[in-house]
């Protein structure tokens, strides 16, 4: 579904991703962990099509197509979803309106008729229940005045609404209380299907107790230096990143 080969990305001449490789198949859940500033959000942004960054080398294939041939909105309509680490506020635009617009853009792209008001409301109610969101949230402006946790839950709600093929959740668990964490994990698990995939970026193995990953990757200084199963997350939590760095350094001769 998503294949990244030798991806090298820079901003203002500073290289951030350095020859990164990743392969995500349908039905899989990948976790990406790594210290602050290692390039996790950058990777997510580049996949989603943020044009702030320069792609110096490498390729990304999404659903069999060169992802760089698709503008950001096309990627989204083709089922790519990014749960933002820092969701932005859009004053005066209700979540309902925002989602209705997004869904109908996607439907248009897929050659489907737009949802009528009633259909949309029905879907929204269903998804709100699924991710356990209070009804009043949907009538509020997008993220405006939301608490940190509410913003993250709202990302999950949007994910539920858009039913992505590939969801990338950038630290969606950060700043959540235990109950909210379960809500988020629950949402992800309920949306999990054989033909979709999820990449969760997180600092905490705790989340991975709820969302069981098939693979855990360590992103360090712009590349993935170690991959493993879910036990790798436990090990990282116990021992930190130093040992992985050393291991990689030994094999890589820094």
């Amino acid at each position: 579904m998503l294949t990244i080969k030798d991806l090298t990305v820079s901003i203002h001449g500073k290289t951030i991703l350095k020859g990164l490789n990743l392969d995500v198949k349908e039905g899989e859940v990948h976790a990406i962990m790594g210290p602050n500033g290692s390039g996790k959000s950058t990777l997510a942004s580049v996949i989603a099509g943020r044009d702030l960054f320069d792609v110096d080398k490498g390729e990304i294939t999404y659903m069999g197509r060169n992802i760089f041939d698709m503008p950001a909105e096309t990627r989204a309509r083709e089922g790519l979803f990014l749960g933002f680490q820092y969701p932005v506020e859009i004053p005066g635009v209700s979540i309902a309106n925002f989602m209705r617009t997004a869904i109908n853009e996607k439907r248009k792209h897929l050659g489907l008729d737009p949802l009528t008001g009633a259909e949309f409301l029905r879907v929204m109610e269903e998804k709100k229940k699924m991710v356990d969101i209070q009804s009043k949230l949907a009538s509020r402006s997008v993220n405006e005045g939301f608490s940190g946790g509410e913003k993250k839950k709202n990302e999950i709600f949007q994910m539920a609404m858009l039913e992505p093929r590939l969801a990338i959740l950038d630290e969606t668990d950060s700043g959540l209380d235990i109950d909210a964490l379960k809500v988020v994990a629950n949402g992800v698990n309920k949306l999990r299907r054989k033909d979709n995939a999820t990449i969760v970026i997180t600092h905490y193995q705790r989340l991975l107790d709820y969302i069981i990953p098939d693979f855990v990757h360590v992103l360090y200084d712009g590349s993935i230096i170690k991959s493993g199963g879910k036990e790798l997350a436990v090990e990282l939590e116990e021992k930190g990143y130093d040992w992985v760095k050393k291991e990689a350094g030994a094999g890589n001769a820094a």
Binding site: G49, E73, I90, G92, V93, F98, R100
Partner: protein, 482 residues
């Protein structure tokens, strides 16, 4: 609401001015040029009472002594007033009781504009008095209005049927000596609307009028007069779109509102004259004088305007708060794109005690446009405890456009409180990317963000007008970033 918004976003696709088309109705027009004879021709053509011709001539003679003002923050080539045509009317002289009698081509035009001048609108409870060029061509719900004693008709008709009311009120709020364009309008005004709400009557319908420029080179000089007697209420809406035109078109309207004791008038307008092409060629010059007076105690007048069109807009809907405890409100969204220039704002003149005014202005500029807010808040010597709150926000969509704020405050009374807040913001890359990532393209994203930004003002508009306004904001900001 979301329903409509979506529709808006879907319609953004094309890049040409959506409402740019031209209806070919045979014209009956005055020869170009402006002399006393032109004024007499117009008055005779409309079979006006003598006092009207006398008024026009006084205004014309005064106008000849004036020079065009140049203080606004706008630039345009000199207008040759002798090149303009000052009167034109559809030849098939309309006097309709039902829409069936209306020229089908005209109805088609309204259809294209998305103006539902039909059963739907009636069901929606809106009486429509549509002004095409200079003559009013359709009135609905007149009977309902008549039952309440409400007069709502074209200005010409009012001159025939209610000359006394016109004579009594016309020019009392905006005298022809007020300014250059007011004098010009007073001399050559073609038609417009008149609304009269008798004492104690709450108008059960939203009154609306659609203006449109349609004849090449025809200056459009509309005149609106709204009189709300003691304890009455009316909500009045006015809107327009204009066809693509290669030459500049002058529009110099006058709107006068009079609210007596305990009366309330809500005046809403969505203005979408042809703004010219991307290089600023063509487009309407909109030089308008709008003013209301809260004549009696506890009167209230509010202006709500959405300005999206015109090559040049020069417009300051103002209020004189004369009655004690009277209230004035001004809510405005002004959008400029490409080479558009707008110099708009309001004047709140507090004369009575405990008078209150609120000004909320949202300027949105894209392309290489210039958007100025110019506002005056003045409190008179006797205006004890007068209060004003002004908020002027500017949103910039690129870095080649300009936003300017010129607040003038003139306090003549120590007990008055005048507050002014201003902000300038840019649409953020993060917001745009957030929308793109949800599958909403750039134009759609801008439409959404801008509509959100203007929501505080849009929410003051009558519901169905709000929907039209949202459309216009989106359509008019095509290609505004970058």
């Amino acid at each position: 609401m979301s329903d409509k918004n979506n529709q808006i976003l879907e319609e953004i696709g094309g890049s040409d001015y959506k409402y740019g088309f031209y209806t070919d109705i045979e014209m009956d027009q005055a020869p170009p040029g402006l002399t006393e004879d032109t004024v007499r021709f117009i008055s005779a053509k409309k079979n006006e009472p003598d006092f009207m011709l006398a008024f026009r001539l006084r205004a014309f003679r005064h106008w000849k002594t004036l020079k065009e003002p140049d203080w606004a923050h706008v630039e345009y080539p000199p207008i040759n007033y002798q090149d303009l045509i000052y009167y034109s009317a559809p030849r098939k002289r309309p006097k309709y009781d039902s829409l069936d009698e209306v020229d089908p081509e005209l109805l088609e035009t309204f259809e294209k504009l998305g103006i539902p001048l039909d059963e739907q609108k009636m069901l929606a409870g809106v009486a429509v008095d549509a002004v095409m060029d200079s003559v009013s061509v359709g009135s609905t719900f007149k009977k309902t209005l008549a039952e309440h004693g409400i007069i709502f008709c074209s200005f010409s008709e009012a001159l025939q049927k209610h000359p006394g009311l016109i004579k009594k009120h016309m020019g009392t709020v905006v005298p022809y000596t007020d300014n250059y364009f007011a004098a010009l309008n007073s001399a050559v005004f073609s038609d417009g609307s008149f609304a009269y709400i008798p004492k104690g009557v709450k108008c059960p319908l939203e009154l609306s009028t659609y203006f449109r420029i349609n004849a090449a080179k025809t200056g459009q000089f509309e005149r609106t007069l709204i009189v709300a007697e003691e304890g009455s209420y009316v909500s009045y809406m006015e809107g327009c779109t204009a066809p693509i035109r290669d030459e500049n078109q002058l529009h110099a309207a006058i709107v006068e509102i009079i609210a007596h004791k305990d009366a309330e008038v809500k005046y809403s307008t969505v203005q979408n004259w042809w703004p010219g092409d991307k290089e600023g060629k063509g487009g309407v010059y909109n030089f308008v004088t709008k003013r209301g007076i809260c004549e009696g105690d506890n009167a209230k007048i509010s202006w709500t305007q959405v300005e999206t069109g015109s090559a040049i807009t020069w417009k300051y809907p103002s209020l004189i708060l004369k009655g004690n405890n009277s209230t004035g409100e001004f809510y405005s969204v002004a959008v400029t794109n490409n080479r558009q220039q707008a110099d708009t704002g309001t004047k709140m003149i507090h004369l009575g005690k405990n008078t209150k005014s609120t000004i909320i202005s949202k300027g949105i500029s894209g392309g290489r446009s210039n958007n100025s807010y110019r506002g005056l808040v003045k409190t008179g010597r006797k205006a004890e405890n007068a209060r004003n709150f002004s908020q002027c926000d500017s949103l910039l969509l690129g870095d080649q456009c300009g936003a300017h704020t010129f607040p003038y405050i003139d306090v003549g009374n120590r007990s008055s409180i005048v507050e002014h807040e201003a902000t300038t913001s840019k649409i953020s890359e993060d917001q745009l990317f957030y929308c793109l990532q949800r599958g909403i393209d750039m134009e759609g994203a801008i439409g959404l963000i801008v509509n959100g930004y203007a929501k505080e003002v849009l929410s003051k508009l009558p519901m169905e007008f709000a929907v039209e306004a949202q459309k216009l904001l989106s359509v008019n900001l095509e290609g505004s970033v970058g």
